[in-house]
Subunit: 154 residues, 3 copies
Amino acid sequence: MIDLLQIAVFNAAYADAIDSDDLERWPSFFTAECNYRVTSIENYRAGLAAGLVWADTRDMLTDRVSALREANIYERHTYRHLIGIPLITEASDSTAQARTPFMVARIMHTGETDVFATGVYLDRFIRQDGQLLLSERIAVCDSSVVDTLLALPL
Amino acid sequence: MIDLLQIAVFNAAYADAIDSDDLERWPSFFTAECNYRVTSIENYRAGLAAGLVWADTRDMLTDRVSALREANIYERHTYRHLIGIPLITEASDSTAQARTPFMVARIMHTGETDVFATGVYLDRFIRQDGQLLLSERIAVCDSSVVDTLLALPL
Amino acid sequence: MIDLLQIAVFNAAYADAIDSDDLERWPSFFTAECNYRVTSIENYRAGLAAGLVWADTRDMLTDRVSALREANIYERHTYRHLIGIPLITEASDSTAQARTPFMVARIMHTGETDVFATGVYLDRFIRQDGQLLLSERIAVCDSSVVDTLLALPL
């Protein structure tokens, strides 16, 4: 059965890829067909599907990383994710659902650091060939202002 | 024996109830007779018993939630708790004591996010009918300024 | 084998010693010969060895605590560490390597709280007489500005 520690380790690796600027590894945490979204709690509750960031294949995530690299936007700042203990709402040998809080600090090139985003990941995991992957991650941000600044993945 | 993972999962559920505006579930994490306090490290060290927020029954916690709902104060902002790994200082089959760090971000209606409170939970747990409950939670805040702004539970 | 929970508990105790102003216990988390450094990601990537804070014995850490006590600098503020789940990159019965994210809030005497430092611990653990100890902790800060303000240990 997929358990708390497996998900916690997965999330630690996921955050580390983003925060250590190893963005090219980020899509590898998802299944080939997947649902990745960043939205706000207001939009999520209103049932608005898309949010500001949206992808439904791993290739779209890869494209997004390429775009970030080309635009060099990502060089202006880095993130540091602190991810909480997952609340598992459903689990079997090969699938799991969890909601997990996150807090992301943003470190500007000037060194200035602030709390950039907080919220909860609504996740669906699947085990494929022994490896845990996200078939869905909806990052529901507590603030609706975060969207307009969003560059790196949450 | 009550162990680290059980307490970590308990804390994750506790935080989720508050942060997802499911406040009515908050009192259910406590025993009928309980000690809930929010205080500052200065007051705690000085042995001042009460602190700003204080309750010794679950019913008082329920009253507090009702008051928050009626006043609609809580709609002006939300919290996001990040709760650390518990340090268990005593544990048996049916009871445990732990100290656990927390960091709480506050998200204003305008979207502005800041670190609202940090500190440590001083907890006494008890297992009743197979369920873990708090007989005592003293939220000792690192800052003494936090009190005056306090609305939602920590 | 040294595992995730053992390291997580170690980190919780480490943070608690610093954040509860029990600094004299801080050196006891290290081996007699050890490598403790605080540096920035920029300096770390540039291969600059020292960083702003640097020690290679436990005695040097003890001296640092004494200096802080005498200078009374540490009284002006406290820290609150939130430490993430360790990513273990190597482990055996008696040694382990891990990288673990941290977020540290600083609480000024006035009560003002901000995110002081974020980054990742690059750690080498060793088990001596049944006790887990750090033979190396390099605190790599995401911001290079943090150094100039540094007083308490990270």
